[in-house]
């Protein structure tokens, strides 16, 4: 009789496949996970507390640091919440700039995910291909906002900078290029037997689970729920664009993979249309008071970020600082299902499951 015992394995906080400072305490029986306990908070910076002492414009840079891979959408959710409270009408041109920025950022975010996800499986090349394209987007956003990652681009009432000369043409040229590259991605990875065997039927959950665990974004859509806030609760000017909400029925890691790549295509569609419709001139800022003071009361808005539903709750007492600011951070919610998915899985599946959820630790920890 062999005496066996379970092994406690600490994955993280510094571990290559946790994509940040995330810790998982695994109980292993051989290589099979019997229990998983996520430990988070290593990146908690108290954004919400800090924000209580800042004016709204000053808070925007803090939102950049939440989901630092997709900072534009975070920028937007805050200004959108304030604008909703104050009933500010945004100039046409600013709306288009916002949409372009957000969609470009979404593509960049999905690209980063794609690269790192395949890298988790040990294939190094896709990461570099993804970064090559992402670099182009970052350059575009850099020209627009002056920053490559933490853009701090949007303001209550509009955007900070207008598009520079020739920027739109660059964006226009980028779209067909990206489409071509996307085909290459599919050829390189999507049909790879090893990749398929590692993602198909791995980390599967049902639609009911997804709703129950408050999953959002691709994690929800991969179970067949046709739900995208851009389409179903249109904000900004998303109702002007013709795009599809991508869903898959599998509910497994591969379904999420497919959804994300297809979503890049949809974002490209939006970018294309936005460039076509882009108003040639006009203001980029609405007339807003110098000091932004939302009316007394509270508001909760939600938008479709790159990883799911980003929400922003503001309770205002009519002062220039928020009384209480709270972000609904999609990664934080999406990560909750992880222990359930990991139970009984091989330790190698840990990375395909965790990777497919697509978390950004800055967002998980707030």
């Amino acid at each position: 009789m062999i005496r066996t015992e379970e092994v406690l394995l600490n994955v993280g906080p510094q571990h290559p496949s946790t994509h940040g400072v995330f810790r998982l305490v695994l109980t292993l029986d051989g290589e099979v996970i019997t229990n998983a306990e996520p430990v988070i908070g290593y990146l908690h910076r108290g954004t919400e507390k800090i924000a209580e002492n800042l004016q709204f414009t000053q808070i925007i840079p803090y939102t950049d640091r939440m989901d630092y891979v997709s900072a534009m959408t975070n920028n937007y959710v805050l200004v959108h919440a304030v604008e909703t409270m104050m009933g500010i009408e945004i100039p046409e041109r600013a709306e288009y700039l916002r949409v372009l920025a957000m969609e470009l950022n979404r593509v960049a975010s999905h690209l980063l995910w794609w690269g790192t996800y395949i890298l988790d499986f040990g294939a190094t090349s896709p990461l570099l291909y993804a970064f090559r394209e992402r670099e182009m987007i970052l350059n575009l956003l850099n020209e627009l906002s002056g920053a490559r990652l933490t853009f701090n681009y949007m303001r209550v009432g509009g955007v900070k900078w207008d598009a520079p000369e020739g920027w739109l043409e660059k964006v226009r040229d980028f779209v067909p290029y990206m489409r071509k590259m996307l085909d290459g991605y599919h050829q390189l990875v999507s049909g790879n037997e090893i990749f398929l065997s590692r993602t198909k039927n791995v980390g599967t959950y049902t639609k009911e689970d997804a709703l129950n665990y408050s999953l959002s974004g691709v994690n929800l859509r991969s179970t067949g729920v046709k739900w995208d806030l851009r389409k179903d609760e249109p904000y900004s000017i998303y109702d002007r664009f013709d795009f599809d909400v991508v869903t898959r029925d599998g509910g497994d890691a591969f379904a999420r993979y497919e959804c994300r790549l297809a979503e890049i295509e949809e974002s490209l569609k939006i970018i294309e249309q936005a460039v076509e419709q882009f108003p040639e001139e006009g203001p980029i800022m609405a007339k807003v008071p110098k000091i932004i003071k939302p009316p007394k009361g509270e508001a909760f808005v939600r938008i479709e970020g790159s990883r799911g539903e980003i929400g922003c709750y503001i309770a205002s007492d009519g002062k220039k600082e928020p009384y209480r600011l709270k972000f609904r951070r999609p990664s934080f919610y999406n990560l909750q299902i992880l222990p359930k998915l990991l139970k009984g899985q091989n330790i190698s599946n840990l990375i395909s499951i965790l990777g497919a959820i697509d978390i950004v630790l800055g967002e998980v920890d707030g």
Binding site: I88, D239, P279, G297, R302, E309, Y313, Y323
Partner: protein, 451 residues
């Protein structure tokens, strides 16, 4: 051991200190709150409304002539609207008339902000009291209407928003009145036409599309309306194109609409047209009679179902949160919170199967837990709030209903100290168990200032 004890003692001291400070602060707050509450009439929500209204009106008054003109126009239109509506409902027509007149007067009094405030309050009350016997929902209508009008005038720029609201009104009017009475359908048309004339600007493109989309379900009538509007706004080319696109978009010819939209967007007229239309819109915009939020009927439904099944006493308050995209908001009594949450999830006709967000807030007088729920079945949102005792913030956990509430509740516990009873694993998820104090509380003092 002794080290531990020391730590314990320090902790206690820190807590005591924090508490003392909190008490002091709270007292100050209470004093202030008392002042406020004295002002507030018995009914809190209506008090708030009136208050807000008054404030906005004061602003509006300061904005002088443009506003005054707008009011006058508003009155006219309201009167006209009332006349047309008269056959349908005599008493409500009168009310609207009265109301418009009074408002005009109030505005005319320019500088006397205080007077305006008083009047506004009276007006709101009067409006409410007059209508109450006749019809409850229409009473609310007028109330809301008044409020919205004030807001619109206050901000000439908010024209488009107002328009959208008016549009909703038209829509609702159409859908509600059409089956009952043919003539009222005409009313809606009339109204739409006027509106179209008013908003001759490119900015409206999106709104128009949205409207057309909304009216697609309204059938022929909606189509007609959109068409008429499109004709009316021939002045600004861009806007016209966009609108046509919208109308067609409603009837389903996508490509054409797209091409037109592109043309529209390209038209350089946009900026100029907007600037020009700005003033016109500002003056005519408020002429639209305001309507209650389109979500009012959902709120009424929720409240009715909840009260029917769980009793009259479970809800502390319920209202439409206008600041938050008109989300129906329910404020549960502390004891009934879990029951209501459970009911919201499992009731057939409510079916809120998705918890979008749950968090706590410290309002110094009390703690509050705010949950935003969504029903994928009915495509409807609701916000559920509950107020907690600040000294003993404790509430049932809803993690058993929505597994997604697990971590957010931990977060609220960690940062605010709200205890969720029945939570599967309540822990300090962000800061760790050894952290002292609850940072998101307003009276939080860091134990270690170095951190």
């Amino acid at each position: 051991m002794s080290g531990d004890k020391d730590l314990e003692r320090l902790k206690k001291e820190a807590v005591a200190k924090a508490k003392a400070e909190a008490a002091a602060k709270r007292k100050a707050k209470e004093l202030a709150a008392q002042g406020a509450s004295e002002e507030a009439p018995a009914d809190k929500s209506s008090g708030d409304t009136a208050d807000d209204l008054a404030k906005k009106k004061a602003e509006a008054v300061a904005k002088a002539k443009a506003a005054a003109a707008a009011k006058r126009k508003a009155k006219e239109l309201a009167a006209q609207g009332a006349n047309e509506e008269a056959p349908a409902d005599e008493s409500s027509g009168d009310t609207a008339d009265d109301l418009a007149k009074k408002k005009a007067e109030a505005v005319a009094k320019a500088k006397a902000a205080a007077a305006a405030k008083r009047k506004a309050k009276e007006l709101a009350e009067q409006g409410a009291s007059e209508e109450a016997p006749a019809d409850e929902s229409s009473g609310d209508t007028v109330d809301d209407l008044a409020k919205k009008k004030a807001a619109a005038v206050a901000k000439a720029k908010a024209a488009a928003a107002a328009k959208r609201k008016a549009k909703e009104l038209a829509e609702q009017g159409a859908s509600e009145e059409a089956p009952a009475d043919e003539s009222s359908g005409d009313t809606v048309d009339e109204l739409a036409k006027k509106k179209a004339a008013a908003v001759a600007k490119a900015k409206a493109a999106a709104a128009a599309k949205r409207k057309a989309m909304g009216q697609a379900e309204g059938g022929d009538e909606g189509d007609d309306l959109a068409k008429k509007k499109a004709a009316a706004v021939a002045k600004a080319k861009a806007a016209a194109a966009a609108k046509k696109k919208a109308a067609e978009g409603g009837s389903g010819s996508g490509d054409d609409a797209k091409a037109k939209a592109i043309a529209a967007a390209k038209a350089k007229a946009a900026a100029a047209a907007r600037a020009k239309a700005g003033k016109g819109a500002a003056t005519e915009e408020p002429t639209e009679p305001k309507q209650p939020s389109p979500n009012q009927k959902y709120l009424d439904k929720y409240v009715e179902i909840i009260k029917k099944h769980l009793g009259e006493e479970v809800l502390e308050d319920s209202y439409i949160n206008n600041l938050s995209k008109d989300v129906p908001t329910l404020v549960a009594k502390r004891e009934a919170y879990y029951k209501i949450a459970e009911f919201l999830k499992f009731n057939e006709s409510l079916g809120f199967d998705y918890l979008s967000e749950i968090h706590g807030s410290d309002f110094e007088t009390h703690m509050e837990v705010y949950a935003h729920l969504y029903s994928y079945k009915n495509k409807q949102s609701v916000a559920l709030k509950v107020k907690l005792d600040r000294e003993q913030p404790e509430i049932e956990s809803v993690a058993r209903l929505w597994a997604g509430a697990d971590w957010p509740e931990c977060e609220a516990y960690d940062l605010l100290g709200i205890r969720f009873t029945g939570h599967p694993n309540l822990r300090r998820i962000m800061l760790g168990e050894e952290w002292i104090g609850y940072p998101l509380r307003k009276d939080y003092e860091p134990y270690d200032v170095e951190v």
